[in-house]
């Protein structure tokens, strides 16, 4: 049962990821990305990480992608006309992609024996444990990250605000 679900949603994630790249409509790409996020959330759920799955949906599908869709709709982005690709990119694209995929496959194969196997439902940590470790063990990185986000927000406001004479 778990394996069937895994195969369905892993395929869905890959299909959505491919569709994200090949779609011509910007909104189609955005929705494909939502599909990827949703499938990943289901994969997390299969591993037993319910909290991570829910947060994945809330943060990525619910907040970030809604903002993307909002901006696409606001700018009313139309279908992209594919710009003529230059000859080096045509010449090098497919070989480079093959080399990259081969490298990834090789590294995975090298690393695989040293890593343990993962079973469905093995990451059974609840929200309580995650919260505890976030505020005890990882308090400093957590706080530093929030300060970083705050700086980013301030920077965005400074860049976007109108000059007042």
């Amino acid at each position: 049962m778990d394996l069937i679900l895994f195969l369905i949603f892993a395929t869905l994630a890959v299909v959505c990821a491919v569709s994200l790249v090949v779609q011509k409509q910007p909104i189609g790409s955005a929705l494909s990305l939502v599909g990827v996020m949703g499938s990943l959330a289901v994969l997390y759920l299969l591993l037993g990480a319910e909290f991570i799955a829910a947060v994945q949906l809330i943060v990525y599908a619910g907040a970030i992608m809604v903002l993307f869709v909002f901006v696409i709709m606001l700018l009313n982005a139309r279908e992209e006309n594919p710009a003529g690709r230059s000859w080096p990119s045509r010449l090098l694209g497919i070989p480079l992609l093959t080399v990259f995929l081969g490298l990834v496959a090789y590294l995975m194969q090298r690393m695989a024996p040293s890593m343990g196997t993962v079973t469905f439902g093995s990451f059974n940590t609840g929200a309580k444990e995650i919260g505890r470790s976030l505020f005890n063990q990882y308090l400093l990185p957590f706080e530093v990250t929030s300060v970083l986000v705050l700086i980013a927000i301030l920077g965005a406001i400074v860049l976007a605000r109108k000059e007042i004479d």
Partner: protein, 402 residues
Amino acid sequence: MNFFLISLIKMGIVTAAFMTTLAYLQWIERKVLAHIQSRVGPYRVGPHGLLQPLADVIKLAMKEGFIPSHVNTFFYLLAPFLAVFFALISICVIPFGPSVEILGVRTDMGLADLSVGVLFILAISSAGVYGIALGGWASNNKYSLLGGLRSSAQMISYELPMAIALASPLLILNDLSLRTIVNEQAGYYLGIIPKWTIFQMPFPQVFSFLIFLISGFAETNRVPFDLPEAENELVAGFHTEYSSMGFASYFMAEYANMVTFCSLATVIFLGGWHPVFPAAYGSDFVPVLLLLAGAAMLLYHGVVQPTQGRPWDKYTMPAAGVIFALIAMVFLAPVLKPILIPIFWFVSKAGFLMFTFIWVRGTLPRFRYDQLMNFTWKFLFPLAIVNLLITAFAVALQGPKS
């Protein structure tokens, strides 16, 4: 296999009840609005207009599903499906009652008990905006697009106060599973004041309840926050170009969101299925008394002032009165009591909230768009944060729960 069978039966029951509620909620809304405005509302179809939902469904299903030539067909068809899918799915984590024994089988009343039930509902409700935004965009119509834009901005903005208002009761209740949350609210202070979250020490969550309710009006696109479909500005907003089942899906999604939202508020703030006062003081007889009072009123009106209208209209009220009295008798049966009493409390609390939604729709005018945004970012959001801070301090002062 037993588990699958029970789940299947429960799914069937919940789906049937949910769909009927959706259809009749619309009837109730029209009736209540009509009475607020001194009209009678739907009256001609069936006794007292009771078959109106059926007629509406048949009408909507029979209409031609017209696809305008200028729309983006794929997204145009996908959008209402998304809207109704996300609206219907979140009911499956709501617990309706305690675990009961029916015919020797022990089972929870409710479909699934996720350990992150609250987050699941938040995730699904935040995904619900896609249906509206996409429908507005795919319609390729400036009114629809404006409606879709407004809805996405509005829902992003109101999700913040809503999530923060939800966080403060969770600090007190100390769990994310909705069933555990309801169980935490059992019991009474001084034997009479229920331990619901809005009354629970160390800091009663009245403010979070109000913030949650107000954001809920915005999340479900209801008056006074129905900017995405403001009739006098945007024709019909995001669903201008939809007819037949597409329109029906949006309609259904709105009511389904309302039901889910009211159930969630009931579960988190109003103690779920726990009665208002202890069973020791006879709270089990409240449904019987209420139904008998309703029956008496209907009989009085039906017999003393018979309705003028079609020949059979004068029998409607007395017949409804008799039916009410019979239902009241059902509540007295000792076998059914452990099932019906929790359901009654849950439904009456959620029903009261739904009535509030309709009441507000009949009373308040619509916000202007800048007022809407100022209200959430400059008032509701800071208030929710202050409330969260006070709750956190109170919980920290109280120390860990025993």
